[in-house]
């Protein structure tokens, strides 16, 4: 028997007032021994529901299985009792989640958490369990497992926590591993390591892996077979080369085309005066404790760069590199400790809020999270005209401006009367861009502005950003962790690590001849960089 998991005609219904009838509809898929099946799709495609249904972890009140079968290693578990599911979970199937911080219990030692699996499923003695746990931890390449056994989750890095999750999932040596976006919350270099680890363990043990992801780069790196889902249905499945090289379905084609290329397009050099100059900007956090010195973090160290009008400079780096700190200093949501930020030759680095307020129309920001950047209680129109009216623009004129901007960002003018929850993530990001543009700024900062969006929507928003940059001759500071996106939109790139700029140059130079080892590591770690380089 080759199949570890067989899903036949599985349909799960959604509650009555949802936007569609079924979360997943008529799903047929199999996972064989010794293969990795990637389920890929955008948010809301039902890929996680599929995984949770297999594990029996769905909220049964909201999501009801209406038809179909789930067969795990020859046993039909479709209507199995919770007790049967409990016994199968861990022994025959295990799951790892997206966010390793919340998937681990913060008040228990990680070793004990892994050991709990053995305590439930086996009759091992305490010392047998401990040696088994340590073995499992060294299998996932954790350094010094004896010592790490006694660590708490918060003492470990994100990558280490995900390794603990994997060790926990695999300690009972299940035949099926379900991974639900296990690397989405991790930095790219860590992601590359975790992907390598999952693939290596899978090959060694001959497991079947059901890997859920939204990222075609990850698919290219890890998958044997690919299942593409759209709105609860499977639209295409096949081997990885089949699906990625010659997709037959329109939706799959569109998704693959939306993945930005790692190869930066040729760009003309922008000439003219600098719109934004930062000189030696420093920012530290903490240090002031109630009892003595607290922990001090040097989030930005002597950061200097300049951007001309009509030019996009990207700051790339992993989490904790200080790129967002720099953005927040430039927009003066926080005050830098030292250094200069020159806008129109005026230093705004240390201006008081009251002196700064009349200048704020010159620089605007678009944040990462489209769901939290708009006040849910105010209409889109109110949000957009708030800024101009602060600067004394009459209401009628501000409203007219808002209407014009709605056209520019590709939304209907009656959107102004609506509330943010009536829009999708991409549409909200358009509204945020319109709000920033309503101030008629010279400098636009995009702080991970497309990171929370699905790839197809991401492509549209990037196009819009590029469009408005040209139309309004903006100087754009583009902050991202995603090297693909940076390659497509930036003229120049600044690479940051631990608060310092390690390399800078034109996008073409950075991508073709990276000098610093860290830049090289980042470029190498980008998922699917071999596949999507063209």
């Amino acid at each position: 028997m080759r199949n570890i998991l067989e899903i036949e005609k599985l349909t799960v219904s959604l509650p009555k007032n949802a936007d569609r009838l079924y979360a997943i509809e008529d799903i047929n898929l199999t996972v064989n021994r010794n293969e990795i099946v990637c389920v890929v799709g955008e948010s809301g495609s039902g890929k996680s529901v599929t995984a949770f249904t297999v594990m029996g972890l769905n909220d049964k009140r909201a999501l009801k299985m209406t038809s179909g079968h789930i067969i795990l290693e020859g046993e039909d578990i479709t209507n199995a009792s919770p007790a049967v599911f409990r016994a199968r979970r861990g022994e025959k199937m295990a799951m790892i989640f997206q966010e390793p911080m919340t998937a681990l219990n913060p008040v228990l030692k990680v070793g004990d958490q892994i050991s709990e699996m053995l305590e439930i499923h086996t009759l091992m003695t305490t010392s047998e369990r401990k040696s088994r746990v340590i073995e499992a931890m060294s299998n996932v390449d954790l350094p010094n497992p004896e010592k790490m056994y006694k660590s708490y989750p918060h003492q470990l890095s994100g990558g280490q926590r995900q390794r603990i999750m994997i060790a926990m999932a695999l300690v009972m040596e299940p035949g099926l591993l379900i991974a639900d976006e296990p690397t989405t919350a991790l930095d790219v270099t860590t992601q590359a390591n975790i992907l390598r680890l999952i693939k290596e363990i899978q090959r060694r043990r001959g497991m079947g892996v059901l890997f859920i992801t939204h990222d075609f780069g990850v698919v290219a790196d890890i998958a044997d077979r690919v299942v593409v889902m759209q709105e609860g249905k499977i639209v295409e499945q096949g081997t990885v080369t089949q699906v990625l090289k010659s997709p037959s379905n329109e939706y799959t084609k569109m998704l693959i085309e939306s993945v930005p290329s790692m190869k930066p397009p040729k760009r003309k050099e922008v000439s003219g005066a600098s719109a934004l100059i930062t000189k030696q900007v420093n920012k530290t956090f903490g240090g002031l404790g109630f009892f003595g010195e607290g922990r001090k973090v040097h989030a930005a160290k002597s950061v200097s760069f300049d951007i001309k009008a009509g030019e996009t400079t990207g700051i790339v780096g992993e989490s904790g590199s200080g790129k967002s700190t720099v953005a927040r200093c430039v927009i003066r949501l926080i005050e830098p400790n030292s250094g200069n930020i020159l806008i129109n030759n005026l230093d705004i680095a240390n201006l008081t809020e009251s002196k700064l307020r009349p200048l704020r129309n010159n620089f605007q920001i678009v944040f990462q999270d489209p769901y939290r950047s708009l006040n849910p209680r105010r209409t889109v129109g109110q949000s957009i005209i708030e800024g101009p009216t602060n600067f004394g623009v009459p209401l009628a004129e501000a409203t007219q401006r808002a209407k014009d901007l709605m056209n520019i960002v590709g939304l209907q003018t009656d959107s102004l009367e609506r509330f943010p929850h009536q829009f999708s993530g991409g549409q909200r990001q358009r509204i945020c861009i319109a709000r920033a543009l309503a101030m008629e700024p010279q400098i636009l900062i995009a702080d991970e502005a497309v990171s929370a969006l699905d790839v197809s929507v991401q492509a549209q928003v990037l196009e819009l950003l590029d469009d408005v940059k040209r139309k309004f001759d903006l100087a754009m500071l583009f902050i991202t962790h995603d090297l693909r996106v940076a390659a497509q939109v930036c003229d120049n790139i600044v690479v940051m690590r631990e608060g310092e700029i390690v390399e800078r140059g034109s996008t073409y130079e950075i991508y073709s001849k990276p000098k610093h080892s860290y830049t090289k590591a980042l470029l190498d770690a980008a998922p699917g960089h071999n596949f999507f380089s063209g």
Binding site: I365, G387, L411, Q412, G426, Q427
Partner: protein, 291 residues
């Protein structure tokens, strides 16, 4: 780029108004009905009852039914009339304490949450206030200024303020980090407008819930103060001082203490039931965990 994108029909907001949503909750519905009856009786009852302070030495300590609905006390005053008059005091105290505690607490909470320097000062004062038992503080304040309705209300309001300040401050601290607040700052919205437009609306739901609990506990505190003789002066009947005066004859004539006690319990209970219901509908996060 002029591609029109259809508006999503994904999220259908509930068509019900907040009031309709809230009244659908069984706790809120029944709690409000009981409360409504109590308020109705407290407002109109006294017009149809005897004078609560007129003495009638001829019929002292008469059990219910013999003289009046609830009997009479040791001075021959009609207990029924005193209880419904006392209801006015309790409701007035509960309501005014809730309103004033919320107003003062919100202002201070907003300031503390938004202005770092004030935070340290305000919160240390609040910590200090919370360290003193509310009843002791109230007794001390009443003994300094003499017992009138106003001083009793003030004495109950002050110990309640820190609870509101803490609540508002914690909401402000989370909301001020929200990107939409930062966006408002970066489009040049002055601080006071940021507070009113973007921060304050987030505090309303938890404040309504908190206000009902404060209302309930204020009524209890008032009764305790009255019972201890530190509350509303005896010439104005309140549930607390009726019980206090009836205490001496408790074993002989339990009705003097029983009826105001029941009235107090039912009122506080209905206020708290409404509060629980409001919390479930207005603060879905807690409601989900409780289910």
């Amino acid at each position: 780029m002029s591609r029109e994108i259809p508006l999503s029909s994904l999220e259908k907001a509930s068509d019900l108004s907040v009031f309709q949503l809230v009244i659908k909750n069984k706790n809120v519905f029944w709690g409000s009905i009981i409360l409504m009856i109590i308020i109705f009786v407290a407002i109109f009852g006294p017009f149809f009852a005897l004078d609560p302070v007129s003495l009638n030495p001829m019929s002292r300590l008469k059990p219910p039914g013999d003289a009046g609905l609830f009997g009479t006390d040791q001075l021959g005053r009609d207990v029924y009339s005193r209880v419904i008059n006392g209801g006015r005091i309790s409701l007035v105290v509960g309501l005014t304490v809730a309103i004033f505690a919320v107003i003062f607490g919100t202002v201070m909470g907003l300031l503390a949450g938004y202005i770092r320097i004030l935070d340290a000062i305000i919160m240390r004062v609040m910590d200090g206030l919370m360290a003193i038992p509310a009843i002791l503080l109230a007794i001390a304040m009443i003994s300094l200024s003499g017992a009138t309705l106003t001083t009793v209300i003030a004495a109950i309001v002050i110990p309640e303020i820190p609870r509101v300040v803490r609540l508002v401050r914690s909401v402000v601290l989370t909301v001020r980090e929200e990107p939409y607040v930062e966006s408002a700052i970066s489009v040049g919205t002055p601080v006071y407008l940021v507070m009113i437009r973007h921060v304050l609306p987030n505090t309303i739901a938890p404040l309504i819930v908190q206000a009902t609990y404060i209302c309930g506990s204020a009524m209890l505190t008032e009764a305790i103060l009255g019972f201890l003789g530190a509350g509303i002066p005896p010439e104005i009947p309140s549930w607390g001082n009726i019980m206090s005066e009836g205490r001496t004859f408790f074993q002989l004539t339990p009705w003097i203490i029983f009826f105001p006690g029941i009235a107090l319990a039912v009122t506080v209970l209905s206020v708290n039931i409404v509060g629980d219901g409001l919390r479930d509908t207005l603060d879905p996060r807690i409601a989900r965990n409780m289910r």
